[in-house]
Symmetry: C2
Subunit: 384 residues, 2 copies
């Protein structure tokens, strides 16, 4: 097949030539989604530090940034190493740091990358500082804030914020600012709620940064973000960068939140019908749990199942069929929700509930153009 090997010269090929299940990315929709995010942030004149955890792809990151070597957010050291090796040297690791991660960060720094970390615990900060000194590494860190999700982070108005800043100062770690992630945006159900959560994120981050500065610490960086809060924030005064990731592909959950139209979803799983059972009222496809993930985000909002079934051309069907259940290599569709009775061998596509989870089941993307022709193959960097 002309498009199987990454980096090979590729000729356009039809979807029918691909082995299923496989993961499709519509390049033009990625560009549309990137443009929507850029426009939203341009209103506030705040730059994007895109989170590469969704696509984990150099090509997607370049397409979104429209330039080489834009600042990025990473969620794993594997991402950090992969992107650094492609010139993305300005990185923020936005998952809680541990002392055992210091050696890999030291190796990244030695190779020219600047990876900033986050901390939310004074004792851990001292242990990380000790590990960094032992490795000859100078670390710059942001203090992680809790602005309402109650996952990681410290309260913007609490004592722990300043204790951590002091622990950094005494541990040779440079405090460079604060990071807030309003993950509870995913519990919001209206534009008004999303705007309020975005303001909680902004105001908490700005307050914490001001408290740090007042005590003589650096707080150059006021980093906030998620796709919903980036798109729904009414103002971002005092914010220096916005992190967002899933917007590059969008998904059914983001569409249910009002952050995209279903027609904007750039990611889909190409699947083949492997069984037609009229007496049981079901159609089986080869997109099961390993092809889609077991993410059921939609249960909490507008729907159910493991993804929406659309035509080979990406067009939605009137009755909005879904994958109602999955086994490892089987997905089921209710026959009467489809536009017509398919045959074994027919092909369909499935839109993901949660793009980050579905994409994680694959090591590559088959890239399609607006005509549905496969024009490229892009790799992903999975693992930790």
């Amino acid at each position: 097949m002309a498009v199987e090997r990454e980096g090979a010269d590729v000729e356009a090929a039809p979807l029918e030539s691909l082995t299923t299940p496989c993961l499709l990315v519509d390049r033009e929709k990625v560009e549309t989604n990137a443009h929507a995010m850029a426009s939203a942030l341009a209103r506030h004149a705040v730059p994007l530090r895109q989170h590469v955890k969704t696509a984990k792809s150099i090509e997607v990151a370049r397409l979104v940034a429209k330039r080489e070597h834009a600042p990025i957010t990473v969620s794993t050291l594997r991402e950090a190493e992969h992107f650094a090796s492609h010139g993305f040297h300005d990185q923020l690791l936005a998952v809680g740091m541990t002392p055992s991660r210091v050696p890999r960060i030291a190796a990244l720094a030695a190779a020219g990358a600047r990876l900033r970390i986050i901390v939310d615990d004074a004792e851990a900060t001292r242990a990380i500082g000790a590990a960094a000194r032992a490795a000859g590494l100078h670390l710059e860190a942001l203090i992680e804030l809790d602005v309402g999700q109650h996952r990681g982070g410290v309260a913007p108005d609490g004592d722990a914020l300043l204790e951590i800043a002091r622990a950094m100062a005494s541990s040779s770690i440079t405090c460079v600012g604060v990071l807030a992630h309003a993950g509870h945006a995913y519990d919001a159900r209206t534009a008004g709620d999303l705007a309020r959560v975005a303001e909680d994120e902004r105001s908490g981050a700005v307050l914490a940064a001001e408290r740090l500065r007042k005590e003589g610490h650096r707080a150059d960086v006021v980093s906030v973000g998620s796709t919903p809060t980036a798109l729904y924030a009414e103002w971002l005064d005092g914010v220096t960068e916005v992190r967002a990731g899933v917007f590059v592909f969008q998904d059914l959950f983001q569409a249910a939140l009002g952050c995209a139209r279903v027609e904007d979803i750039a990611l889909s799983v190409l699947t083949t019908v492997i069984g037609v059972h009229p007496a049981r009222g079901t159609v089986l496809v080869d997109a099961g749990a390993l092809a889609l993930s077991k993410d059921r985000s939609l249960d909490a909002v507008s729907g159910s199942g493991f993804g929406e079934v659309v035509g080979l051309d990406g067009a939605r069907m009137r009755r909005r069929p879904t994958i109602t259940w999955v086994n490892q290599e089987h997905g089921a569709i209710e026959l009467d929700t489809l536009a017509r009775v398919p045959r074994v061998g027919d092909r369909l596509r499935v839109l993901p509930n949660h793009a980050c989870m579905t994409a994680a089941m694959y090591d590559r993307y088959h890239v399609i153009d607006g005509r549905g022709q496969v024009v490229d193959v892009w790799s992903r960097v999975n693992g930790f």
Copy 2:
């Protein structure tokens, strides 16, 4: 690190030397589980055709078979190709076949592998036969039966069985037997229920084989199985092979069904504490949705959450802590379920709800011995 590269000469290394999250396999527990399955089947003098879809690992398959090149069941053509390249030439692809898969099977046959397929649709059988003829491939197939799961397959006592056999005969596909998989065993909750489901599987398969033979078709192969029915079957008269996969690792769901003890689970995810939040009552670890999968099988049986948290030494804790929720790179534990308040950087292990799904998130296993030393690295073959 001494054990990062597959196939390299490795020295034993402590768990502390590994990057987290990562996937651990206890080699001795795999051997124990393989022995339990071998003993169960020895009572019936029926051979195992192990399903490699759980481990997707040459080394695990060899450890289970205790010999080279044992018969295997595969769920993807990627598995088929990988195992064939390591000499496992006797294969059964136990997921519904499509015409588009013929070229890869023809390539396997040309390389010396014998991969049998399953069919459950007369029209599809004719299309597959036409594709095989065009590729110069002679196919041998089993007819897939529905013995109560109502996923794929035809009724053992219905007309479709014989129609498909005739379609095979007229399409130059050799009928070699029948395949039944009692997936509804996973809805059973008692040993008695499991034994009854196993008997449905056996009796349905034997009936269908007899009907085929009576009409002059070959039915040498009467293939049944799943881990629960293999372990709980009271007799297997008329059965020629048993398929089972998850038994190699076992998991919390199998333990809840009574197919293993929790202490037998050979698979676990090594994780590091990345946040301790006494005021919120939570501990955060770096095993989130990408490290564990979003499988929630336990909800249907004995528990909840995304896996049971055990000590670094694999020992269970009194209050049976679980991962109560996950984000992409975060998992949460209720602090008061742990034996003691941990520190950032401490390590724990997580037992999987569903071994097939958790293992699928990784491209390799770190193999540990009975002392918890890392002694090897085995690769997995993911993808389709």
